[in-house]
């Protein structure tokens, strides 16, 4: 008998609770556990593994550059974020929703933080899955949006996204005031991922309230950098780097940045099949490199990826 080589890692990924049910003072219909593993993804023969969760993207106002393939898929729902999210959870089985409040951007529609918070409130009533509240990326506006939206979702243990080096304080304040988790964003850079966690903890945020977003890039668009950054973060965590022992989230919708994924081109095969597999393959890269939560766009990608995760969990 050949001896099966097993690694015994010294570190463990923290288990972050995402979503609060009635027991925890929230109104979500489920709580998701992100992380908690003691080895690399799905290698249950040598340690504890954790099931990655699959969420779907919902955007408050879809821009004109949004892929038509997705607009066609959801039809009129895409103009109504609550109905869209409802379908994601109750028709397509998303574990959670990532609500992107892009229209709050002062350079776009400049929707007010109050209106964004009203949308979050309605969303929480209509859709009971855990929620990520993501700002537009405008630091100044996001501070206000996160404050009001976080408050509207008080006690629901949402994820607030994204805390970066230059705006982490405002996100951290909003999250701690209302009991949410922080998504700490870094741009495919292990050192910055660690740095931002150090800054957040120095600011008083416990590591149990942090999820790392190391920026997932889709295939053909730098997936190899993202893959290696995530793998390095996970390995550093498993070998004892406490500051990186937070679960990771990967937004796979970046896969749609590659127009080649879905433009009509007979030589590249049916564009619908190609687009879905492009997203699925990008999701697999995130899962293989250690993502604990992924965000997808196409309902079929969700169905396929869920089946794959079931099988990988064994």
């Amino acid at each position: 008998m050949v001896a099966i080589p097993k690694e015994s890692w010294t570190g463990k990924i923290k288990e972050v609770v995402f979503g609060a049910t009635a027991d925890e003072g929230g109104t979500r219909d489920r709580r998701l556990l992100l992380g908690g593993e003691t080895t690399l993804p799905f290698l249950s023969f040598e340690g504890r593994v954790s099931r990655p969760v699959i969420g779907m993207e919902v955007i408050d106002t879809v821009g004109e550059d949004y892929p038509h393939m997705i607009i066609d898929e959801f039809g009129d729902l895409i103009r109504d974020p609550v109905a869209w999210a409802h379908a994601c959870v109750y028709t397509y089985g998303a574990d959670f929703i990532c609500l992107k409040l892009l229209s709050t951007n002062p350079e776009e529609d400049n929707v007010s933080a109050e209106d964004a918070a009203a949308l979050v409130s309605t969303m929480l009533v209509q859709v009971k899955a855990p929620l990520i509240i993501q700002g537009s990326g405008d630091y100044e506006k996001d501070a206000r949006v996160m404050e009001l939206c976080g408050n509207a979702a008080k006690g629901e243990r949402c994820l607030l996204a994204k805390a970066e080096q230059d705006n982490y304080k405002s996100i951290a304040v909003a999250a701690t005031a209302s009991g949410h988790v922080i998504v700490a964003f870094s741009n495919i850079d292990v050192n910055i991922a660690k740095q931002i966690n150090i800054m957040l903890t120095e600011f008083g945020v416990p590591l149990d309230d942090i999820v790392i977003d190391p920026l997932m890039a889709g295939i053909g668009f730098g997936v190899e950098y993202a893959y290696s950054a995530m793998e390095r973060i996970k390995l550093a965590a498993l070998t004892g780097d406490k500051m990186l022992q937070c679960p990771m989230i990967a937004d796979i919708t970046t896969a749609w940045s590659a127009k080649e994924a879905y433009r009509a081109d007979a030589k590249l095969g049916d564009e619908k099949e190609r687009a879905v597999f492009w997203e699925v393959a990008s999701a697999l890269a995130a899962l293989m490199s250690g993502a604990n939560a992924i965000i997808l766009r196409h309902p079929r990608s969700v169905a396929i990826t869920r089946k794959v995760v079931d099988e990988l969990m064994g």
Partner: protein, 446 residues
């Protein structure tokens, strides 16, 4: 990880005769060359069998490189690509069964031969055709001939019957097909064929210990080029990932010789194309060197081949796009001309942000040796001179009526110098590419 032997360790095991028959004057010099893998132990006529055994186990690479036709698989040394480049990318083969009629065989051979794509200068696609026998040597030979006549791709010859395999080998052994496969029932006979025709041999078993025995059978028959098949194609994804990881660790970390060969997955199991493609994507990232598909279409192969190219790039090398003038959208004579660096992530980001703006533009990609804008600027690779030269070479002046050049906001300081050199009006653009859509829309409005 087992440490490689130093020259001194090796020297201690040599005969120390300094005879020079190996072509090197002293045994120490020979030992140094061995340690650097610049020579082979077999060149020493006086090495003892014990020393030979000890040296062989440390001087061999952890995983053998196996050549099938015109490509190599295996030769891997790492578990994680950030440590060092994965060496030989996962090869993709697709099955053609000899029970198909001739027209169908020809059609599939042509289809898979043509199923390749060029993407940023790299051509990637189907690497091999696996011809699968229904058990009749003559029909198999016909099928092999048909495929050979209609495709330039290397072969995998699939049968459990050595006679069938030999019928194929007689036709195409010079093309170094992979013999698939030696099993517990036929391994010695298959290994003899592999030796006789100098072709690589795949060995198959569900059981890892049995696979080790087969590997020893192949070795005892003098076959060095072996590919391992643990019948993972019929396993759950959980087991596929676990076994691929275990086998890779055994070869590159434990230097376990009987399994020091590339691993393959045979997906010709009746699963739909999508399920096969999912397994293949996982296998491409996690340690499969060869994947045989029952079937494959461009909609799955194009993303897979892209993923494969990405995963097998050298993490230490910067990824570059070819310098030159790129058209984003359909630019006309009034479209803006925008300058950027040739680091691939920079290019992709800028190109995608221009595309998002819906404002067609010329993107002038300057050769910054793969460095991003600020790094290249700091390293003197992105200077008024290099930009002026790129502008000149691009001949974009013939394509637009204006003389306005937009440079990245981060290098605003070179505006004057660049204007002097080119005679163009230099516009300082946005500092971050994400601001491009807004910026371009404003430009378009005038």
């Amino acid at each position: 990880m087992a440490m490689p032997m130093t020259a001194l360790d090796i020297f201690k095991l040599l005969a120390k005769k300094n005879c020079g028959e190996c072509g090197v004057p002293t045994c120490l010099a020979f030992a140094m060359m061995l340690a650097n893998k610049q020579t082979e132990l077999s060149k020493c006529p006086y090495v003892s069998p014990e020393a030979s055994q000890q040296l062989e186990s440390t001087s061999l690479p952890p995983m053998r490189t196996v050549t099938i036709g015109d490509f190599d698989i295996g030769g891997e040394t790492e578990l994680f690509r950030h440590d060092k480049k994965f060496i030989n990318q996962t090869a993709y083969a697709v099955v053609i069964e000899d029970r198909l009629d001739n027209a169908a065989i020809i059609e599939r051979a042509k289809k898979f031969d043509a199923m390749k794509f060029e993407r940023i200068g790299i051509i990637s696609g189907v690497d091999s055709i696996a011809i699968k026998s229904t058990g009749h040597a003559q029909r198999f030979a016909e099928a092999v001939q048909l495929v050979q006549d209609n495709s330039a791709l290397p072969f995998v010859l699939m049968s459990n019957d050595p006679q069938v395999i030999e019928a194929g080998l007689k036709l195409v052994s010079k093309a170094k097909p992979l013999i698939y496969s030696g099993t517990v029932h036929n391994c010695a006979a298959m290994a003899k064929l592999a030796k006789q025709y100098a072709c690589p041999l795949a060995i198959s078993s569900d059981d890892v210990d049995e696979l080790i025995e087969l590997s020893e059978v192949a070795k005892s028959e003098g076959v060095d080029d072996v590919v391992l098949d643990l019948n993972l194609g019929n396993q759950t994804l959980h087991n596929v990932l676990e076994w691929l990881t275990v086998l890779r660790r055994l070869s590159v970390r434990k230097l376990f010789r009987p399994l020091g060969y590339p691993i393959m997955i045979n997906l010709d199991n009746g699963a739909d194309i999508e399920a096969q493609a999912v397994t293949a994507a996982i296998g491409t990232m996690k340690y499969a060197s060869l994947i045989i598909f029952g079937d494959l279409d461009p909609a799955r192969l194009y993303p897979l081949a892209t993923l494969r190219t990405n995963i097998y790039t050298d993490p230490q090398a910067l990824i570059q796009v070819n310098p030159g003038l790129y058209e984003i959208g359909k630019p006309n004579r009034r479209s803006p001309v925008i300058v950027t660096a040739n680091f691939s992530l920079t290019y992709f980001t800028v190109a995608s942000d221009i595309e998002a703006s819906k404002v067609p533009a010329y993107l002038l990609v300057v050769d910054t040796e793969g460095l991003s804008v600020m790094t290249a600027f700091a390293a003197d690779k992105f200077t008024p001179e290099t930009i002026a030269e790129a502008l000149e070479q691009s001949k974009v002046a013939d394509k637009v009526d204006h003389r306005k050049l937009t440079i990245p906001g981060m290098i605003a300081m070179m505006k004057m110098k660049l204007e002097d050199l080119t005679g163009w009006e230099v516009i300082v653009g946005v500092k971050d590419s994400s601001g491009l859509p807004k910026y371009l829309k404003e430009i378009a409005k005038g």
